[in-house]
Amino acid sequence: MTAPNYLDHILNGAMVLDEQCTVLFWNHWLEIQTGIKRGDIVGNSLYDFFPDINKKLIERKLRQVYALNTPAFINAEAEKYLLKIPSKKISGKIYDYMLQNVVISAYDKKERYTLFMIYDQTSLLEARVRLETSTRLLEEQHSLLQNTLDFQANVIFVMDDNKIVNYNNNFLEVFGYDSVERVNSGERDLLSYVSAEKNENLNDIYGSFNNFILDSLNRNRLNKISVADKNTGRETTFLFSVRKMPENSTIIVSMTDITLLQNREKVLQDINLELSRRYEDKNTELKKLNFDLARNRDQLRIAQEVASIGSFEYSCATGSIFLSHGLKIIFDNPDIAALSLPDVLAYLKPEYRKAVSDKVALACREGGDFSAYAEIVSKKGVEKPIGIHCRVFGSMDEGRRLTITMNDLTNIKQLENQIKDREQLVSSLFDVADIGFVITDRSGVIFRVNSAFLSMTGYESDDLIGASLDKLHIESYKSDYGQYERDDKDALSEVTLTHRNGAKLYAYMNVSTFKGQDEDEYRVLALTDITDRINLLSEQKEQEQLLIQQSKMAAMGEMIGVIGHQWKQPLNSMSLILDNIKSDVEDDMLDMEMLNIGIDRCLEQIHFMSETIDDFRSFFSHETVVSAFDLKSTVNNTVRLLSPLFERHGTKIDIVSELDKNVYVTGIANEFKHTLMNLLSNSKDAISSRILNDTRFKGRITIFMSVEDSSVFITVCDNGGGIPEKVLSHIFKPYFTTKGDKGTGIGMYLAQIIISKKMNGSITAENKGEGACIRITLPVS
């Protein structure tokens, strides 16, 4: 058959088949790709040339084309290919065969001919596989980065040209919910939210937050800024780091809350400073000693010739000796008349005599100089260390003569001891501290570590002395290690280092550099292990969450009791009404009017019951939004809810409020209600045990509320007998309970977390009058 000749010029495959898959047309592209000539294949079955083809698939597709008169498709992703054609690509190929999209459409409806258009999709799909791989890698990297960011920083936001383009929730919490809008509308610059540590006026220096960030980016160093809470005015200090995206002007700022670390940091800095000072003192002393030593040596050298050195000559042949004046001084015996070697040796302590006499004999016999150490006892009975040096003169034939000098080492020895003592002092000073110390020289070679550091890292001191600091793999995980290296001044940062067993340690590190008199630089690294703290921090969060959940369950149990009580009365009334109706029916006295009255009264009770449930439901709603809420009405509502049950337990709750207008505090209202409920419930329990002893005892709980300056005080006082003095200081600890099996021991702990951590207030306990008073102080919003 003849097909339009343009099919020979297109860069796709085109073939026409009849119903039995006999090839009627085969275009030029297919000739090239398959190597099969048109003349060979036309008129033959496609299956003869491509035995691998899925016949069933083609039959199905053809049937569809005929039946529906619409095209059918073969998809490179699903079926891979129709014609198996080896890939022509040599480098970088992923697939061995050409991947094909095929469109099958009716070519001649009457004759039932179909046209197959074959499109090479290999490169496209290969590119996609690569893209997907790199996208996946990118995603992995991104999520790693994200995790790292999440771990490190509380606040993350992205800026582009002084506009905030992205931010996390914490950003809003720190800067305020309207901050993004304000900043982006140009109403307020982000710089006005922050202050610097050194009281620099940032606004005067930089003008805008963007400039400030760019400046810190250029200086490439870790910075600290403080942000004041819009409600409490409390300052939170953040370490912040900045990253600039390479391809555009986007800047990522991450901020880490280090307020809690600040106190620790101050202590650490103080300790470091003190230690540095002491070290410097000792160092100066050491230098002085060294200087003294050197000076003494000089003196000695001079003195040697005068007094501290003595000598004698010994003739091997005759055994005669001649003593110098110096020796007589060393021996403290100017009138010595030693005539033989044994006379001289007699001054040596007995343990040295044989060794020296053996060496002398050897020198006489075979020649050769020697040196030895010995101690003498002078005529005055003074023990002196001496150095002995022997030189041999003359040959064996002419008779050897030995010149033996003796140095009085007393002064030198004293100095050496002194130095040793001093060094020990410095060492012990290092070991007192709980902080790991590493001292390196200018090139970073470690020459001293303390025991705290060794126990922190698991190394022996021999492993580290003389080794390079690199061995410890100290890396800042907020920024580059290099940052503080470049910094001449003392720097402080959080770092990781590697334990001998390979474990990663987190530490707080302070680096001090100072110069000795000889211009030698020393660097003192003070490290505090904070690995546990970092690990604990996340654990603690989880635990707190768990506790809140537990306490909710406990409160739920309590509430069911309250509901039960609330419902008892209406249930009783209803049963009475229904009883009446029943007996009226039995007595045949019931008329419609009475029935309606009965029903209305029942409905009234049901209405009351459903109101009770609504009250509790709102009390337990899973509200998690931090907002300002009215303290007075919150307290009133909680008390109103609990009063009926408490009164049944013989306890009356009074509210004494000095608040003359609405006072708002910030937090999650329900959490505060739970806290209050907890306090009231504790009071009730204490009162209950008093009632057990004296049934006429009247329980009384009073809630005092007052406001002063920007603080509001809520004090819950009872007459339940108070808290034993010895447990008073423990009641805010977790799992502490005085109620035995009845208590969970988390109520007060949670109260403390909610009040102090979440609401920025404080909670204290004391005994007053007949019972206990719990006092809550909260900042007014």
Binding site: K56, L57, Q64, F73, N75, A78, E79, N101
Partner: protein, 207 residues
């Protein structure tokens, strides 16, 4: 139904009924088994409500395939077929009974069969409209990918489309139930043409 008269709605039902009959017969021939296709629900919704409608029928615990196919010319739009992986695998199993080169545990074969059935249903639906109105509609190759909620939201954002014909179809092959959700997204202009096509069908059917 939105914007369709009662008569048009009835005609659409019959039109699709005929189209599905054709598709079913084709599928039965392909797999050598008797099958039935039921259209259990049919409605026309605003593109704005598509995401919600889909969210209402998708089982969040299951994986779905998303097959889309663009058609052009007299009617312009896109069909979207959502089929759970379970249904797609069951379908592939049916196909594999007659085609031993298919394996219902192979991802590629499942995709292949899902693409095929989706194309058949789209062709039957849209192709019938073209036939009955004597017009021409071109079909682009269907594409398959895992279903992601966000992409449906993107469809709405493009807002090129105005109306969606929602069809829930159950194919019963030898007591294996295969469920698919078919959405025919039409551009504003095409929706009025679709109504014209229905009127043409009403006038000429059985004429």
């Amino acid at each position: 139904m939105e914007n369709l008269s009662e008569l048009q709605t009835e005609a659409m039902g019959e039109l699709f009924n005929i189209a599905y009959g054709l598709a079913t017969s084709l599928i039965s021939d392909s797999i050598g088994m008797h099958s039935s296709m039921y259209v259990t629900e049919m409605e026309i919704i605003d593109i704005e409500n598509l995401a919600d409608t889909i969210a209402g029928v998708i089982d969040g615990d299951k994986e779905y395939y998303h097959v889309s196919q663009v058609f052009l010319n007299y009617l312009e739009g896109e069909t979207v077929m959502l089929m759970s992986r379970e249904s797609a695998a069951a379908l592939t199993e049916c196909y594999s009974r007659i085609d031993d080169m298919l394996d219902d545990s192979s991802e590629e074969d499942i995709k292949s069969c899902t693409l095929e059935i989706s194309n058949i249903i789209t062709s039957a639906l849209i192709g019938r409209i073209a036939d009955l109105t004597n017009t021409e509609i071109f079909f682009q190759p269907p594409e398959i990918k895992p279903y992601k909620t966000s992409e449906i939201h993107d469809l709405r954002r493009g807002s090129e489309f105005s109306q969606v014909i929602v069809i829930k179809v159950i194919i019963d092959i030898d007591s294996t139930e295969i469920k698919g959700h078919m959405y025919v997204l039409l551009k504003e202009q095409s929706f009025s043409r679709f109504k014209e096509a229905l009127d043409y069908f009403i006038e000429h059917y059985a004429g």
